[in-house]
């Protein structure tokens, strides 16, 4: 295994993240991770957990395919067909939770605490399943690069874990960088005008709103078939 091969896997991941088709989920992820203005450790933890979620999904999928337990084509087509359809309604509901519209009732307890309260506090742990969900929601570009380029590369070099892991890191890298920029820029802005708590509230609201917008986009394009010309 050479650095060139590792670099190729990383570049494939970055290429996946910066392509237009996963833009909706990337914006949602950036807003979710970067919304903890003034809590640098929280941003870092959320970013790392989001990356871990993506890495976990790609490594497990890679192991399933490379062990011959599932065919690349069947798995890829299944995930492209159903996960993107599930994603739209899920993003809308998550956006509503982030905005405090739902989830504050006793019926929506999660992990011993109320869902909305946890999400509003930061919900760092939510970053992990979010990373898994977004990684599994393959669009044509990510499916082409993961199943068509990364898996053959991993098979060629006998790397069932390392290359999918590096690829997963690459897919999260641009998201993490932008989340940090937004979080720290907002913090600086808030401090400069002595309005940190207000900036924090608006950034959190914006995150919820972006989840809803991204969810509506996924519903309209993947379920109702209203493709915006590409």
């Amino acid at each position: 295994m050479t650095w060139v091969v590792l670099g190729s896997a990383l570049w494939l991941g970055v290429l996946t993240a910066i392509s237009p088709c996963p833009l909706g989920t990337n914006i949602a992820a950036i807003s979710f991770i970067g919304r903890q203005v003034g809590h640098r450790r929280g941003v870092l933890e959320a970013g790392l957990l989001y990356t871990a979620g993506r890495v976990l999904a790609y490594v497990v999928l890679g192991m399933l395919v490379m062990a011959g337990l599932m065919a690349s084509g069947d798995l890829s087509r299944f995930l492209q067909k159903y996960l993107n359809e599930i994603l739209g309604p899920v993003l809308i509901v998550l956006g509503m939770v982030l905005l405090g519209m739902i989830g504050s009732g006793a019926s929506l307890n999660l992990a011993g605490g109320k869902l909305q309260a946890r999400a509003a506090k930061g919900g760092v742990l939510f970053s992990l399943p979010l990373g898994v969900l977004f990684a599994l929601s393959f669009c044509p570009v990510s499916a082409g690069l993961y199943f068509g380029a990364l898996i053959p590369l991993s098979l060629k070099h006998g790397s069932r874990v390392l290359l999918p892991l590096v690829y997963g890191g690459g897919t999260a890298l641009p998201v993490i960088v932008f989340a940090f920029i937004i979080a720290f820029a907002s913090e600086c802005l808030g401090k400069a005008f002595n309005r940190l708590s207000q900036v924090e509230i608006w950034i959190r609201r914006a995150a919820g709103l972006l989840f809803i917008v991204a969810g509506l986009y996924y519903c309209l394009t993947h379920i109702y078939g209203l493709s915006p010309g590409g």
């Binding site: 494939l12 084509g73 087509r77 044509p140 570009v141 199943f147 068509g148 380029a149 993947h222 379920i223």
Partner: protein, 166 residues
């Protein structure tokens, strides 16, 4: 603002429920009306001579990059294989692999892609799925060489249709 919140909340919840119902209904209709032979939009003809069929297979959701791949492939074919397209030695077929599962299974499609298939009538004799179009997309020269080499490898009388710039 506070008065609006319950209205927005109910609209969004209703939208989610309707959307989930619509998605479930769409899948049940699709599975009930799936073409048994799976040929979908593939042209049918009685011609039994060996020919080449170049498929552009795409998902129902057409992403920007997918459209670029289709456009680049189509331009290459018009430029380099215009004569073969005109006289029927090459056929161009565009199909939705998510609606045409038989085609997707036959070519083990993983994502939107170009497939070059050597055909006798409707029987696939051999094929190559060009997955590397995704990584060669930003290098037009390499992309064209990759696709045109695959076409020439299967095309009967390939030398006769050589022409144009790669």
């Amino acid at each position: 603002m506070e008065r609006l919140e319950p209205i927005v909340k109910n609209i969004l919840l209703a939208f989610v429920l309707v959307t989930v119902g619509f998605a479930l209904g769409k899948h049940s209709v699709r599975s009930a009306s799936a073409a048994p032979d799976g040929t979908g939009t593939v042209p049918r003809e009685a011609d039994a001579r060996v020919k080449l069929r170049v498929y552009y297979l795409h998902a129902t959701f057409r992403c920007v990059t997918c459209n670029t791949i289709e456009k680049m492939t189509r331009e290459l074919m018009d430029k380099q294989f215009g004569d073969a397209l005109a006289d029927g030695r090459i056929e161009w077929v565009e199909a939705d692999f998510q609606e045409n599962e038989a085609l997707a299974k036959q070519f083990e499609v993983i994502s939107s892609c170009v497939v070059v298939a050597k055909m006798r009538g409707e029987t696939v004799l051999d094929y190559q799925r060009l997955d590397e179009v995704w990584t060669l997309l930003n290098d037009v020269a390499k992309f064209n060489t990759y696709v045109s080499d695959a076409i020439r490898a299967y095309l009967p009388d390939a030398d006769a249709v050589e022409g144009g710039t790669p």
